[in-house]
Amino acid sequence: MALLEAHNATKRFGGLTAVNDLTFDLDEGAIVSVIGPNGAGKTTFFNCIAGFYRIDEGTITLDGDEIQDLRPDVIARLGLARTYQNIRLFGSMTALENVLVGEHQHLKSTWVHAVLRSPSVKEEERVATEEAHRLLAYVGLSGSHDLMARNLPYGDQRRLEIARALGTQPRVLLLDEPTAGMNPAETTDTTGLIRRLRDDLGITILLIEHEMRVVMDISERITVLDYGERIAEGSPAEIQRNARVIEAYLGKAHSEEVLSEYEPDDDAADQESAAAAVGAHAPDAEGALPEPVGAADVDTTPAPRDGLKERDRKPDTSDAKRDD
């Protein structure tokens, strides 16, 4: 049994099926990437796992327990944490405070204790603060603990988001485009960090990425989505040579061209160039290739939707696409 599983998960928004009968599993201790052209439903899938959307059909299980009907905070307490495509830090809090919020579920004192400043609270806060410092140091932000989160440079903000997620002591970490907007040096640092998260801390990693080099470098397995469906799944080498994947990214005409240039070969150099070819053609945020305008893959992590009670967020009266 895998740590995280989805069986026939389907999510519809009105007439649009963003996630279509998706079956997927994530073994404990693995690093898996989810890729696919824009609009493929990757972030929506994350949102479903994390509990922001209630799937219309199917199940999602974490360590054997079904979580598709649970609230996000319950899912977080079960050990699942995530970061966001558009960084969503608590800008007006310091880096340290952001991480402390991450540790919320592990602190047990009540507000009464806080008002009375009992020794148990003082001790708990001391331990929590130490832990937060350790987490910041782990991601390489120890000097910035006192800085306002919104004042941090972009790369540091991404790392802070990871540190905050680590505060929840997750078993599974969902990273949504962790290297977006980074230069090559920062990207290398980040991939190193991701590996360490798994190697040192035993966290299972699921990541969405557009940067093919990262994907090929770090993933043990890759799942490819297109139009909300899983179209391929396998090792990086297998995915690079998968005709359907290339077609999804490039369209039929171009895919034939690319496939004809690169022979399936065990040669590492060739594999790399195949990856490079796909990577070079893979649409990133400013994709040169025409793409299906995929509303579904937009970061629809819901903004406060007006007048809708949380619980009613799940029936899809969301206007996720239309947030101001």
Binding site: G14, R77, G202, G307, L308, T317, D319
Partner: protein
């Protein structure tokens, strides 16, 4: 730091108990509401205290009130659709319509036009509507320009507080200008006559009732046509869906917003005249509570949805009118009409709790503003 493979966790007992308590509480709330409605109605009907005539009167009154609510609700729903803000000052725009109509009526009365003959009366009535709609629109545009536009990119809370400020400003400006007293509407006598036509006379309708309900429906139909067919109406719908994309398509977002405010205000202003004729009196704070109730109607029908505002308005009007006697009196409450407003607010809370998208809501539905 931590060990490699994490242990499994499950939600703590205490929290689950809390969850259960909340669900139970909500169910109890629902049940209590239903019980109150059913028991109250049953008691009233079985006691036979009120004649059929009374009920008919109440239903008619409810429709009249509902029509007025619906007109004001349109303004709320359209502004919400396009700007995602609750125009807290809209009730005051309504009140300004009532006052404008009042002054127009007084002048027309002095000139003898108000009750001269059928034609001058109709003319006066139309003129009152036009004047009220115009004044309300001008005031609403000024408010939009001064209190809302500079804050378009501010957090929602800031905009809301500014709207509260605008509401107070308008209320007390009117109070300062015309005085805090009660102003009695001159009546248009021909409208107060009951309709003598064969079937309708059984309903004990006055021409005023018909006119109010009729004009409400007519104005709503006109608005619907406007929003669905006209170019600017389509622009409004586009901006309501997706402001950025609409701007990229070359739509003048400002103009769409201003038009929305104008149209909503015109409806509210006209509704003010109707309110004045029906209720007969007005004070500077008269717009506030009906404003909130109209907002309730908009939410009830489905915020952002024009037919929804109509439905919500009439449902609320009937609920208030009939419900006071049907339910509250049935429970043995003394002076049930005192608690009429409670009905509206309870509906508001209940809708927001249990079905926030309203009756016709699904904000992605095709026929929204």
């Amino acid at each position: 730091m931590q060990t490699t493979l994490r242990p499994k966790r499950s939600p703590s007992r205490m929290e689950t108990a809390f969850e259960v308590a909340v669900s139970v509480f909500l169910w109890v709330f629902r049940i209590v509401l239903v019980v109150i409605v059913v028991v109250g109605s049953f008691m009233t009907i079985s006691s036979g205290k009120f004649s059929l005539e009374t009920w008919v009167d109440l239903v008619v009154n409810g429709a009249v009130q509902g029509g007025i609510y619906a007109l004001v609700a349109l303004g709320y729903t359209m502004v919400y659709g396009i700007m995602r803000m609750i125009n807290f000052a809209h009730g005051e725009i309504f009140m300004i319509g009532i006052f404008s109509g009042y002054f127009a009526a007084v002048i027309l009365d002095d000139l003898g036009l108000l009750n001269g003959n059928l034609f001058t009366s109709i003319f006066s009535f139309a003129l009152m509507l036009i004047i009220a709609a115009t004044v309300s629109t001008l005031v609403a545009l000024a408010v939009e320009r001064v209190a809302y536009r500079p804050l378009r990119n501010s957090p929602r809370l800031v905009l809301f507080i500014s709207a509260i400020g605008a509401s107070f400003f308008l209320q007390y400006t009117v109070s300062g200008l015309v005085g805090p007293g009660i102003f009695r509407y001159p009546s248009i006598e021909i409208l107060d006559e009951k309709i003598g036509l064969p079937i309708l006379s059984a309903l004990n309708l006055s021409w005023l009732d018909v006119v109010v309900i009729g004009s409400a429906l007519a104005m709503m139909a006109a608005l619907y046509m406007f929003v669905m067919r006209s170019k600017i109406g389509t622009a409004i719908r586009a901006v309501s869906e997706d402001k950025q994309t609409a701007a990229l398509m070359g739509i003048d977002v400002n103009r769409a917003i201003v038009t929305t405010f104008a149209v909503g205000a015109a409806m509210a202003g006209a509704a003010g005249v109707l309110y004045g004729l029906v209720w007969g009196q007005v004070q500077f704070f008269t717009g506030f509570i009906p404003g909130i109730k109209a907002f309730t109607a908009a939410v009830l029908g489905g915020i952002g949805n024009i037919p929804g505002a109509m439905v919500g308005g009439f449902v609320l009007g009937e609920a208030e009118s009939v419900g006071a006697l049907l339910i509250i009196d049935g429970l043995g409450v003394p002076s049930p009409s005192q608690l009429k407003d409670v009905i509206a607010f309870t509906i508001l809370v209940a809708v927001l709790m249990f079905r926030p998208q309203g009756i016709l809501g699904e904000r992605l539905s095709r026929s929204r503003a």
